[in-house]
Structure formats: structure tokens, C-alpha cells
């Protein structure tokens, strides 16, 4: 304890003695740490948005399909919906709601154009859990599950060169695998955040669609929780209730978005590595200078009986003190920037690229405590590691040579 006080006291005074040189380093650390945390929070914000929008865009937190449906989405690979069983399977979970749907590929023809899209049979009352309830609509929405009219996205409407109120013809396969042509009236046109959604999804009433396709089945159930992420236990519980179905999370439902999500995780650590690596060089450099100009002093200390260990501790202590000061300022600075950007950054200039990743054009940073802790822990560890070589230099010479230095 005594010795620790002495070491700390000596370190702080020596840092102060070279305050100009050291403050330059502290500023560098501040910027590096602050920059890492700010960038981190943006990336985390992006991830949060990715997940939110994927979950909202019909995935939900937990999705169930018949096995093989994903290989070949069709009415033949549906299952009979038992609402009571679904309710039971999510009992005790923080459920916001669930919805059963039919999602099948269809070819859409207007008077002038033909396009491919997904035809989705929904129960509008249950779609409060998805983006469908937030659509900006021209015309009307679907009235009920037995409504046999369609909602078409604005972009698709334009591509089909048709209009609200007109009829379109959809060709799809029924429950027996027989091709069917069905005429629908366009009851509403929706605007979504994502253009690709507008182009590819056409909605109608679920029971109406079942009747048209001679089926009593659905192809998916999507469960939305009140929490941001579903826990493993939540999946396990639902899986146990539906052993005959594929129970999937958003990552399995959206492998591309999941890939980006996970790549971004990696980017965070690569970036951290690069920045802290550069910092270590600066730190080692400063420490070596500090050690060399005090070789004399270290020699004297050892000549009067200070163990080398304590000299080493002094150098490590100086390194860590510099780092801690830089971290404190960097973290404080990054939190200020975070507060400043809290309402989001407008990315609409790059909207198209951004949209691809399933995000909106407003980017909100999100500070994750765990990330900050990792940055702090790694930098302090590096401060210790960076001081090894300079500390060795401090005690390498024997005390007499050091005194003569």
C-alpha cells in the first residue's frame, strides 16, 4: 500500500513534469477512444434498426413454417392453423401478438404489364404486429380476413401501369398444385419505407385466399414479442409446442440481413484493433522517451535499495494513468456526441444503399454498455502491455551504469 502510493505519486508527478508531451498523447487517446465509441454506437444503432425493421417487415421474432416450405414456398406446403395451440405455445412469453398468413409466389398481370410478386393472405386485425398496419394508404385498407380485394405497393402499381380501383389478375398454384388465375380489385395502394417491399408484396384477406385456392391451411405464423430480441428459451418453448414445424428466428428468415448484421460485428472489432494498435505505438514511443530521460533517476532509486519490480511498476503505472485519463475524456466526449446525435442523423442522401440493409434513412446511434466496457478493458490491458518493453529498458541497465548515464 505504502509502495503503491509512492509509485502512483512518482508517476503522476513525472507525467505532470512532461505535461506538454503527455497531453498530446492524452488528446490522441481521447480522440481514438471517443471515435471508436461513437462509431461503435452508430454501427450498433444501424444493427438495431436492421433488426427492428426486419422483425417489423413480417418476420416477427419467431416464425413458423411447414418443413420444406422455405425450399419451395407454395400452398402445398402449408399447415392447418390451430389458434388455441399457438396461444398456448406462447403462454408466459412477452408477446405483442401473432399473425397467421399465406405467402405464395404469384404472377401479376394488369391490362398492360406482367410482374412477379408474393401474394400474402393476411388477417388485417392481426397485422398490428407488422409494418402492414403502418402503411400510408391511398384508397382503403383490407376490411377483414375475408376481404378478397388486394393492396398493392405504389412502385408495383406504377410498373404495372394500372390504377387504384382497377382489376389485376394473379396466377398462382392452388393447394393441389393446379395453376389458377384469379382476378382481384385494387382496393388500396401503400407506400412503404422500402421500395423493394412495395414492388414485391401484394396483400389480400387470408380466408378469402384460402377459399380461392381450395385450402384450409396457412403457410406461416409470425410471433412478435415486446422485447427487441427473442431469447433462446422463447424459441425452445415454441419449438416444444410445434415439433412438426420449422421454428425460425429473424436471422434464419433473412439470411442476407443476418450476414450483414454479423459482418458489422466483425467490423467493430477490426476497427477497434486498428485504432488501438496505432495508439500502442504512440504510447510505447512516449514511454520510451520518458524512461530514457530518467535512466539516471532509476539508477539512483535502485542504488538506494528500490527493487526493480517497483521501477517496472512506475512505468506501467504511468502508462495506465495516461490511458485512463484518455479513456475518461474519450468516453465523456463520446457520450456528449451521442446525446447530440440522439435524435438521429439524416441519411436520406444515401437512402438507396441504406435501404438495402433494411434500415430507414434516419440513423440513430445506440451506445451498448458492453461495447464501452470492452473498449475500456482492452485499452487498459494494452496500456499495460505497451509498458512492458519501456519498463524493461528502465531496469535493463545495472544501477551503476544507469547512475553514470
Amino acid at each position: 500500500m505504502n509502495t503503491f502510493r509512492l509509485v502512483l505519486n512518482l508517476s503522476l508527478r513525472n507525467l505532470w513534469r512532461q505535461r506538454r508531451r503527455n497531453s498530446i498523447l492524452v488528446v490522441a487517446i481521447t480522440f481514438a477512444i471517443g471515435g471508436v465509441i461513437v462509431l461503435n454506437s452508430m454501427i450498433r444503432g444501424m444493427q438495431v434498426q436492421m433488426v427492428d425493421s426486419v422483425v417489423e417487415n413480417l418476420s416477427g421474432h419467431i416464425k413458423m413454417h411447414a418443413p420444406n416450405y422455405r425450399d419451395d414456398p407454395s400452398m402445398e406446403r402449408g399447415f392447418v392453423l390451430d389458434p388455441i395451440r399457438v396461444d398456448e405455445s406462447v403462454e408466459g412469453l412477452p408477446v405483442l401478438g401473432w399473425a397467421a398468413r399465406i405467402t405464395i409466389p404469384a404472377v401479376i398481370m394488369s391490362e398492360r404489364e406482367t410482374r412477379g410478386a408474393s401474394l400474402i393472405g393476411i388477417d388485417p386485425d392481426r397485422e398490428l404486429i407488422s409494418v402492414v398496419s403502418n402503411f400510408k394508404l391511398e384508397g382503403e385498407g383490407l376490411e377483414s380476413t375475408s376481404d378478397s380485394r388486394v393492396l398493392v405497393g405504389r412502385s408495383l402499381l406504377e410498373e404495372l401501369r394500372t390504377k387504384l380501383g382497377r382489376r389485376i389478375v394473379l396466377t398462382t398454384l392452388d393447394a393441389d398444385g393446379i395453376s389458377k388465375e384469379i382476378g382481384f380489385r385494387i382496393v388500396g395502394v401503400y407506400d412503404a419505407e422500402s421500395e423493394s417491399m412495395e414492388k414485391s408484396l401484394v396483400f389480400t384477406g387470408r380466408t378469402a385466399l384460402q377459399e380461392l385456392l381450395n385450402s384450409s391451411e396457412v403457410t406461416e405464423v409470425s410471433i412478435r414479442l415486446k422485447t427487441r430480441y427473442a431469447k433462446q428459451e422463447d424459441f425452445d418453448q415454441v419449438r416444444k409446442s410445434f415439433p412438426e414445424l420449422d421454428v425460425l428466428d429473424w436471422q434464419q428468415v433473412n439470411p442476407i440481413v443476418a450476414f450483414m448484421y454479423n459482418t458489422v460485428n466483425l467490423v467493430i472489432y477490426i476497427w477497434l484493433g486498428i485504432v488501438l494498435g496505432a495508439l500502442v505505438f504512440g504510447l510505447v514511443n512516449t514511454l520510451i522517451t520518458a524512461v530514457l530521460e530518467r535512466i539516471h533517476e532509476f539508477g539512483l532509486f535502485r542504488a538506494v535499495g528500490m527493487r526493480s519490480r517497483i521501477i517496472v511498476a512506475q512505468v506501467i503505472c504511468e502508462s495506465v494513468c495516461l490511458m485512463i485519463l484518455g479513456i475518461a475524456l474519450g468516453v465523456a466526449g463520446s457520450f456528449l456526441i451521442y446525446a447530440w446525435l440522439y435524435d438521429g442523423i439524416d441519411l436520406s442522401a444515401f437512402a438507396e444503399g441504406v435501404e438495402m440493409m433494411g434500415m430507414s434513412s434516419q440513423m440513430k446511434p445506440a451506445i451498448v454498455a458492453h461495447d464501452v466496457l470492452v473498449v475500456v478493458a482492452v485499452s487498459i490491458t494494452l496500456a499495460v502491455v505497451a509498458s512492458f518493453y519501456p519498463a524493461r529498458r528502465a531496469v535493463r541497465m545495472n544501477p551503476l551504469d544507469a547512475l553514470r548515464h
Binding site: L10, M306, R307, S308, N398
Partner: protein, 229 residues
């Protein structure tokens, strides 16, 4: 158990190798008893500093044995040598004796701090010792704000504060005028008499020699003669 604080037995120290080898000490045997005030004298380059460094465990002999308090220093680890210097010896070097970032008082105190002595006792003892070297007023000044003589007295205070068995000083008066030198010597003498601290000084200065109880004269790494005072 003998009365010897230090025993040197056929100690040699060779610096370098081959053609450039320097035989700084060529088979020295000597004893220093408890309570003595010994001056090591001789022309420049005769091996005075080398001898002191060997006794302080700062250097090791090429051959021969250095014994301090009946213990052969060659059996000591580096940490044990550090502890020996910390607890049993006090050092005063010719120059650069103080830590620039510490005040005079702290320069004295840190020795006690390393010994694990509590804050209050440390402070009292450091100030007492500074008072005894006549620097009570300068206790809170940094070395840069002290004269050469004052710095040297702080170094003596630091060497004495741990109540060492042996005080080793290598040309402590080299940077001092005769008045200051005399003051310093009187201080050392009074400590030698009051506490029985054994004192070993390397010096050219006849003024210093006058205070000694014995001188060891070196020439070319050999003991020329020993003169009891």
C-alpha cells in the same frame, strides 16, 4: 560473529577483457569495524569507487569475497541486495543524488516509505533528520531550488534516515566549498559518535580525512597502507 561490518578477502575487479582489461582492484583484503569512520584515499583511478560499489552490492568482484555483516554478498539475489541497501546502508554519491520531482522532505521520506513505515512516523523522522543537517526550512523545496551543498546535505539526510549500519559516501565533498565540507564532516562525525554508525568515505580531500578514525590508502588497485588516525 565478528565485530566487522565489512570484510574484503582478496577482492579483484577487472573491467573489460583482453588488451583493454583494467585491473581496478588487484587483490584487496580489508576489514571495517563497527563504529569506525574510515576514509579511502588515493589518486584518481586507483579504485576507490570500485571498492565502495562492491561493498554496497552494486557491483560484484571478479574474484574474492565481499562479506557484509558476516554474509557473503555473492550468495544474495538482486532483491536481497536491494533490501540490504535499503535497510542496512545509506549511500551518498558524488552528484545527482536526488529525485527531481520530489521535495527535499519527500526525497528523504521515500526510503522509509519503501521500508513500509507509516505516514506520520515517516514525516516526523524525515523532518528530524533534515533538521539535524540544518535544512529544516528547505524541507518543502525541490532539488532544483537548492544549492549544491544543500542538495548534498539532503542526500546525507536520506542516507541516514533509515538508521543504517553503514554509511557509504563517494566523494561527497567534491562539489562543496571548504566551509560546507567542514559542516558536512562535522555532521557525519557527530552521527558516527552518537549512533555508532559506521562511515566509509572515498575522498581526495584532506579536510575530510582529518575527521576519520582510519584511512585506507589505495594505489593502482592495491592497498598501500592503512593509517590509524
Amino acid at each position: 560473529m565478528t565485530n566487522d561490518v565489512v570484510q574484503l578477502r582478496s577482492v579483484t575487479r577487472v573491467y573489460g577483457q583482453g588488451n583493454v582489461a583494467v585491473n581496478a582492484l588487484q587483490g584487496i583484503s580489508a576489514e571495517i569495524n563497527k563504529g569506525e569512520f574510515v576514509c579511502v584515499v588515493g589518486p584518481s583511478g586507483c579504485g576507490k569507487s570500485t571498492m565502495l560499489h562492491l561493498i554496497g552490492g552494486l557491483d560484484s568482484p571478479t574474484s574474492g569475497t565481499v562479506i557484509v555483516e558476516d554474509q557473503d554478498l555473492s550468495t544474495f539475489t538482486n532483491n536481497e541486495l536491494s533490501d540490504l541497501r535499503l535497510r542496512r546502508m545509506g549511500f551518498v554519491f558524488q552528484a545527482f543524488n536526488l529525485i527531481p520531482v520530489l521535495s527535499a522532505c519527500e526525497n528523504v521520506e521515500f526510503v522509509l516509505q519503501l521500508q513500509g513505515i507509516g505516514k506520520n512516523e515517516r514525516d516526523t523522522r524525515a523532518r528530524e533528520v533534515l533538521d539535524s543537517v540544518g535544512l529544516a526550512d528547505a524541507a518543502d523545496r525541490r532539488p532544483g531550488e537548492l544549492s549544491g551543498g544543500q542538495q548534498q546535505r539532503v542526500a546525507v539526510a536520506r542516507a541516514l534516515v533509515g538508521n543504517p549500519l553503514l554509511l557509504i559516501a563517494d566523494e561527497p565533498s567534491a562539489n562543496l566549498d571548504s566551509t560546507t565540507t567542514r559542516e558536512l564532516c562535522e555532521l557525519l562525525q557527530s552521527i558516527n559518535r552518537k549512533h555508532g554508525t559506521t562511515i566509509l568515505i572515498a575522498t581526495h580531500d584532506s579536510l575530510v580525512m582529518n575527521y576519520s578514525t582510519r584511512t585506507i590508502q589505495l594505489e593502482d588497485g592495491k592497498i598501500q597502507q592503512e593509517n590509524p588516525a
